[in-house]
């Protein structure tokens, strides 16, 4: 198996995008390596035209739908690698959506870019992440150089990134701000038993208007998070715009791995599998440890979510 490679590619025109993407894809196909391209519909079209006949041999996904949340994105990459486990090298061109994202979401995606260096370290993935400098802000482009060990302009050769940051340091800075305190309207309860946790969350979620299915899924996420934290704990729940938020706080507990729950379950059961499930089910999962304990904050879509 080859070593994992994770490169940023900053481009300012269609031409520059293709100068990187076309050789990257063509070389992979020539070597018989699986190639996945997940980018904007605009770039997919450009690349498809440039590749001609070869395009039919490329796995592709419109990027907004390939892992809607960061934990789902990281899982999708891991699964693509596992599905192609017979290969020493798998190529992925992965361009996230940056435009229009909230500051919180931008931070979450930068955090994931950095985390991929750790999460995919035991794979033979060669990933190039294109950043469109015409649309992404300067802060996002600068952080791309902190979250990728090297930079490639031609899809073949690379320059080390001078500002690359150790993922644990980078993620530590992403997580530096404390979680906002629960609002006045939140309900909280000390709970001794794990089955009380899931019941409390399911009932409170239903009371806040979540449909049966969504309430059940949030209860499963809370149960799994509580299983990881241990009991007794204090659960709190409240609504904010568009969301139902649930806090689980365990005094005296600390979680040190900032990427816990980002790796999908395999054949052997691991303690973090439950947190992985919580991260798949929820829109956001924040984990914060401090001197007196650990909080896991789960956020699911609120009752007025429209799905068409």
């Amino acid at each position: 198996m080859e070593q994992m490679i994770h490169q940023a590619s900053l481009y300012g025109s269609d031409q520059e995008f293709l100068e990187m993407a076309v050789p990257f894809v063509r070389d992979g196909l020539a070597n018989g390596e699986p190639v996945l391209v997940t980018t904007t519909s605009g770039n997919l079209e450009l690349l498809g035209e440039a590749l001609g006949e070869d395009a039919s041999r490329v796995d592709h996904a419109e990027t907004a739908y390939y892992g809607r949340r960061t934990a789902q994105r990281a899982t999708a990459f891991t699964r693509y690698w596992r599905r192609n486990s017979g290969h020493r090298r798998v190529r992925i061109l992965a361009e996230p959506v940056w435009q229009g994202k909230s500051a919180r979401d931008v931070l979450a995606w930068k955090r994931m870019e950095s985390g991929l260096n750790v999460l995919l370290d035991d794979t033979g993935i060669w990933m190039i992440c294109p950043y469109d400098t015409r649309s992404v802000g300067a802060g996002i482009a600068e952080d791309a150089l902190r979250t990728h060990p090297s930079v490639s302009a031609d899809g073949r050769t690379a320059q080390p990134s001078a500002t690359y940051a150790d993922p644990h340091d980078f993620i530590g800075r992403c997580d530096a701000a404390p979680l906002a305190a629960p609002p006045a309207g939140s309900v909280s309860a000390p709970l001794d038993e794990i089955n009380d946790v899931r019941r409390f969350v399911a009932e409170e979620a239903r009371r806040r208007g979540l449909a049966e299915e969504s309430a059940s899924l949030l209860a499963v996420a809370a149960h799994e998070a509580a299983r990881y934290l241990g009991t007794p704990l204090t659960a709190g729940i409240w609504e904010s715009f568009g969301a139902v938020v649930c806090d689980l706080r365990r005094p005296g507990k600390a979680i040190s791995d900032p990427l816990v729950g980002f790796r999908p379950p395999g054949p052997i059961e691991r303690a973090e599998d439950g947190l992985w499930l919580a991260r798949q089910v929820c829109d956001h999962v924040d984990v914060r440890s401090d001197a007196t304990g650990c909080t896991i904050r789960l956020q699911a879509a609120g009752p007025r979510l429209q799905t068409g």
Binding site: N195, E212, S216, L217, V220, R227, P265, L277, Q280
Partner: protein
């Protein structure tokens, strides 16, 4: 398991070891209480049944006159029920509370469904009079599944099929479709019991094993893993079929990717009835 006069249950088994959890307590309870016990065999020699009882820690010699093992020597439902009625009344006359009857039903395979229905209906009338109670033994190896499922309707309190009765979860055996019915919540505390029931269902059945999930209100990752591990351990050609899977549970199974696990089939809603 506590049984009172009037109760009429059945046990379906694939080998004799499966009789023990149902019949041993039934006989023990009667002897510890104020009942007389009659164990009727058909194809099994009475000496073999006596050996089974000994294996369950019940010494028939110690209960001479109170625990009897014998054949009825007839396959005529009327004659059989007449003999049981007589035995029950004798037990009462001797001062016992009731007659506990258990019997091998393999004669019904020779005689046919009509005889069987006649027997079960008449014996029910005897039980209803309050002088007797009983457990009918059905060997799955000789009875067609359709007959077994009809029999379930004839017997009251099919709870001899109850495999586990916990605070949050109940597990029952089912005959049609063959497998288990789950009722309640499954988390890490219940996983050992679930795994045990699944393992014995896999051993008991020859084809697919069905698990009715329609009354599961909660299942966590460890519970789902127990189901998937059972499914993937099945030999090729057999499946673990999850029936009436609640929507959110189906969604979880899909998220984890276990919907594609070899040996597992996931069916939602009312698919169980559209087989």
């Amino acid at each position: 398991m506590r049984m009172a006069p009037g109760e009429h249950r059945s046990v379906a088994f694939s080998d004799e070891a499966e009789l023990e959890p149902v019949l041993a307590p039934f006989v023990h309870e009667g002897l510890a209480g104020r009942d007389k016990v009659l164990y009727v065999t058909d194809v099994t020699h009475p000496a073999v049944a006596t050996g089974l009882l000994r294996g369950w820690g019940i010494d028939p010699d110690a209960y001479a006159g109170r625990l009897e093992v014998r054949t009825l020597g007839t396959s005529d439902p009327d004659v059989m029920v007449a003999q049981l009625t007589e035995a029950a009344h004798r037990a009462r006359a001797e001062g016992y509370r009731a007659l506990r009857f258990t019997g091998e039903m393999s004669w019904a395979v020779r005689e046919g469904t009509d005889s069987l229905t006649a027997f079960e209906t008449k014996v029910q009338a005897l039980f209803d009079s309050g002088v007797a109670m009983g457990i009918c033994q059905y060997d799955r190896r000789v009875f067609p599944p359709v007959t077994l499922s009809e029999l379930q309707r004839l017997h009251r309190g099919t709870d001899v099929d109850l495999e586990f009765d916990g605070a949050l979860l109940r597990i029952r055996r089912s005959v049609d479709p063959p497998g288990l019915e789950l009722d309640g919540e499954i988390d890490a505390n219940a996983v050992d019991e679930l795994t045990r029931a699944l393992t014995s269902a896999v051993r008991r059945e020859r084809g697919d094993v069905h698990v009715d999930m329609g009354r599961i209100s909660f299942i966590d990752l460890s519970g789902l893993r127990a189901l998937v591990d059972t499914a993937t351990s099945l030999k090729e050609g057999r499946s673990l079929v999850l029936d009436r899977v609640p929507e959110h549970v189906a969604q979880l199974i899909g998220l984890i990717g276990w919907d594609k696990a070899p040996g597992l089939r996931v069916r939602g809603g009312d698919a169980r009835w559209s087989r």
